[in-house]
């Protein structure tokens, strides 16, 4: 091959590589503008304020009601519950895996956590439905086990791999000088972990929690299968709820394509997109801060 031809080929390939590089930006813009387009079309026919603070989601009534307040509260209930369970357990596991467990066991534990992340959400939802839901019902003596509480447990399990892996990364990247310094001063290993390692790894751990929250808010199938899907504002966590994601998944099949209900679901998608965008953006800021140190 002549030199010029080779140079030309190199240039051509580098152009393709550059294009693939910026493709992610194009996709984000495409996804946003598409949701935005359908969302705006919806807000022309239905007031955005009534959409956000409206309590009733009755897409089939006449005139239809598209208030998503109960769905937002449903999402918040299960997400908060999942965090209360998953965050302490996740951080403790990350500490155990990276600082306490012997090396051979560490690899096994990490592999199990990774396998946990691979279990499909519909499988987790199914097991939650047949084993967790009846258990919740009989333990708490409530009319149905399909509650926000069951959803929280299932989601806590699903957020665990994210929280553990990213926290573990952050903990492991704490400079060894910090630890040796503390140990040399006579601190025990636990004192070092609690006072030094945990503090130094905090930005990364916060990022892990944020990413876990992002995962939980967006989870669809498992949540749909265990929370009962009642679009009402819950008073306790032992009542059925319905999340934003479950609403989209459950109702999209029955809508008229291009109709008001169809667009309302896109508007919910837009809300979800904005929330996760924000959550991930904050997580990224914390991750950046952790790395700079």
């Amino acid at each position: 091959m002549s030199n010029d031809l080779r140079k030309f080929k190199d240039k051509f390939i580098e152009k393709i590589i550059f294009f693939c590089g910026i493709l992610s930006i194009i996709f984000v813009i495409l996804i946003f503008s598409f949701l935005f387009k359908e969302g705006i079309a919806f807000f022309k026919d239905f007031s955005p304020i009534k959409f956000i603070v409206g309590q009733f989601w009755y897409p089939a009534s006449k005139p239809p009601q598209f208030g998503i307040l109960s769905l937002i509260i449903g999402s918040i209930f299960v997400t908060a519950g999942a965090c209360i369970i998953a965050v302490p357990i996740g951080i403790a596991s990350a500490l155990f895996i990276s600082e306490v467990a012997p090396k051979g066991i560490r690899d096994i534990l990490k592999s199990i956590v990774e396998l946990m992340a691979a279990i499909p959400s519909v499988v987790i939802g199914f097991i939650g439905m047949v084993s967790l839901v009846p258990l919740v019902r009989s333990i708490f003596g409530i009319p149905t086990g399909l509650t926000a509480f069951s959803g929280s447990i299932v989601l806590a399990f699903m957020a665990m791999p994210t929280i553990v892996t990213i926290s573990e990364d952050a903990i492991r990247s704490v400079p060894w000088q910090y630890k040796e310094g503390a140990l040399a001063l006579g601190a025990t290993k636990w004192q070092t972990i609690r006072r030094i390692v945990l503090k130094a790894a905090m930005p990364g751990i916060i990022a892990a929690i944020m990413l876990g929250i992002g995962r939980v808010i967006g989870e669809t199938m498992a949540v749909m299968m265990v929370t009962g899907n009642a679009a009402q504002i819950p008073h306790t966590i032992f009542e059925p709820v319905r999340t934003m994601t479950a609403t989209i998944a459950a109702e999209m099949g029955e809508t008229v394509k291009g109709g008001l209900h169809y667009r309302a679901l896109f508007a919910i998608g837009l809300v979800l997109f904005s929330i996760t965008f924000l959550v991930n953006f904050i997580a990224d800021l914390f991750l950046g801060r952790g790395k700079k140190k």
């Binding site: 140079k7 190199d10 580098e14 590589i17 550059f18 693939c20 590089g21 910026i22 493709l23 992610s24 930006i25 996709f27 984000v28 495409l30 996804i31 598409f34 357990i89 996740g90 403790a92 596991s93 500490l95 155990f96 895996i97 467990a101 690899d107 534990l109 199990i112 956590v113 990774e114 396998l115 946990m116 691979a118 279990i119 499909p120 959400s121 519909v122 499988v123 939802g125 199914f126 097991i127 439905m129 084993s131 399990f157 665990m160 290993k189 636990w190 990413l211 967006g218 669809t220 299968m225 989209i248 998944a249 099949g253 679901l265 998608g269 997109f273 996760t276 965008f277 991930n280 953006f281």
Partner: protein, 284 residues
């Protein structure tokens, strides 16, 4: 309150950390064993290789298996080349400037978008706007965009772990930048890229929400002929038979769950073991 000695308090704390780890890990073991225990009796060659009968209450799950495999195969053919090229750009060419930072932010955000929102996007763009209909190709394209950030991130990690001196040695011999990447960097990063790809395949095999409105059908009486056909898919099939069909025999549901779980877990396990193996073999 009595104050524990530092030694005792350490023992106590480590015990708590151990318990938390068990609490996180035991559910995995419970889930997997429940499904194996109840599903093993249903899975047979017959079950894997025949069509559903009697309103899906009998027969096998062949079309769902074929459907999932074809969606995943199409998705992966699209997403791996694009993802690896994007990773090459970020790791080998990109300078530390605004554009690079925006690309990284875009990748982080793509990774965070809920799967059901990808489903909406796929429905709007591929099914409706491009008029591809509810089909293998629509579902595959939706999944490929969803999986792109994961492929980019893992491939980038693999490229990044190739020592800088390899590149310098090649460039010093007068080899061009692309040739260096092609013949020096990529071969050394290949194991990492491969294991990352296998993990991605496992992950998208189990996804339901993105194919819910783009590819999956409740029931299709024949196997797909082209990529423009609607198909049944394993995760969606499991969702349907466990929630929508009354009087569904339990062992068929567990059997379907077992097939899906084994498909996903065996691929993940292969990837994890391969990674540990390559890491040991690596000489730098």
């Amino acid at each position: 309150m009595m104050k524990l000695s530092p030694k005792l308090s350490q023992k106590f704390s480590f015990f708590i950390l151990f318990c938390a780890t068990m609490l996180a890990i035991i559910p995995v073991i419970i889930i997997v064993s429940i499904i194996i225990k109840n599903g093993a009796s249903a899975v047979s060659w017959e079950f894997l290789s025949s069509m559903p009968k009697d309103g899906m209450r009998a027969g096998g799950i062949l079309p769902a298996i074929i459907g999932t495999l074809s969606i995943v195969a199409c998705a992966i053919v699209v997403t791996i080349p694009i993802g690896v090229c994007a990773a090459i750009y970020l790791n080998e060419y990109a300078k530390d400037n605004l554009l690079t930072r925006i690309i990284k932010l875009a990748i982080v955000n793509l990774a965070g978008i809920p799967s059901v929102v990808y489903g909406l996007f796929g429905l709007g763009v591929f099914v409706m706007f491009l008029e591809l209909g509810v089909s293998i190709i629509s579902g595959a394209l939706t999944l490929s965009i969803m999986e792109l950030p994961v492929i980019v991130t893992t491939a980038r990690g693999a490229l990044n772990s190739v020592p800088q001196s390899f590149r310098e040695a090649s460039l010093a011999l007068g080899v061009s930048r692309w040739q260096t990447i092609r013949y020096v960097v990529l071969p050394n990063a290949l194991p990492g890229i491969l294991t990352g790809s296998i993990l991605s395949i496992a992950r998208i095999s189990g996804e339901t929400a993105p194919i819910l409105f783009t590819a999956a059908a409740f029931y299709v009486p024949h196997l797909p002929n082209t990529v423009f056909d609607q198909v049944m898919a394993l995760p969606y099939h499991l969702y349907i038979i466990s929630t929508q069909i009354p009087n569904m025999p339990k062992n068929i549901i567990y059997g379907t769950a077992l097939v899906l779980l084994m498909l996903v877990l065996s691929m993940s396990l292969i990837a994890i073991i391969a990674r540990l193996y390559f890491r040991k073999k690596r000489k730098w």
